[in-house]
């Protein structure tokens, strides 16, 4: 596996190892405050989705290692990564609404960061969708070329 692929795999393992104790310990650390509820509904799903996102990219690196990047599996992998990115973006916007309307936190820097993250992940999801379509057409071309005798 390539260096980046190995790095992503290590990142995923660290993420999973940290996630499980964090879910268990957080209620005691935050003492069942409103922040805890907020974490439960926004931050946890976001973390889990980010791990799935990394996992999808590990699969992509594996196919690169096998010298077969243009296959339909990669098209679905990219599409799935795009959907995950869109969900993360939606969660950031929910986070923004939660912060502004329920927690009454209108600290401008925080709001700007959340808006930026929401737009960033939305952009990533659009880019991934376009990339998946590109991969689909490239795969069609490759198969046609492979089956031309």
């Amino acid at each position: 596996m390539s260096k980046l692929g190995k790095f992503l795999k290590i990142l995923l393992i660290i993420g999973i190892v940290l996630l499980i104790p964090l879910i268990g310990v957080s209620p005691f650390l935050l003492n069942h405050t409103r922040s805890y509820i907020y974490s439960m509904f926004v931050m946890y799903p976001n973390g889990v989705l980010a791990l799935i996102f990394v996992y999808e990219f590990i699969k992509l690196f594996k196919s690169l290692e096998d010298n077969n990047p243009f296959c339909y599996e990669n098209v679905t992998t990219l599409k799935r990564a795009g959907i995950i990115s869109l969900l993360i973006s939606i969660l950031w916007f929910i986070d923004l609404l939660f912060m502004v309307f329920i927690m009454n936190n209108t600290y401008i820097n925080y709001v700007i960061v959340l808006v930026f993250l929401g737009i960033l992940f939305f952009g990533v999801s659009v880019a991934l969708y376009i990339l998946s379509e590109l991969f689909k057409q490239a795969t069609d071309c490759k198969i046609e070329n492979d089956l031309t005798i």
């Binding site: 198969i143 046609e144 089956l147 031309t148 005798i149």
Partner: protein
């Protein structure tokens, strides 16, 4: 749809797949793709070599049949 009658012509000329593949200069796997009709396209150069080796015309190898859309 286009039907490949390569195996019929091969039987007529009494030539094996291995021999034909060697003479044309393609792999046996590719020849098998061609014979089973899984191929998407055939290069003119390949067709020319097949005709040369089997001593036939493209029409002897390739045939056209109208596709029944209700099937």
């Amino acid at each position: 749809m286009i039907i490949v009658n390569l195996d019929v012509m091969m039987a007529k000329r009494k030539i094996s797949s291995q021999e034909l593949a060697e003479k044309i200069g393609i792999t046996q796997a590719n020849l098998s793709i061609l014979k089973t009709g899984k191929g998407k396209a055939i290069r003119f150069s390949t067709l020319e070599k097949i005709c040369e080796v089997l001593d036939c015309k493209p029409g002897d190898i390739l045939d056209y049949e109208k596709e029944n859309k209700h099937e």
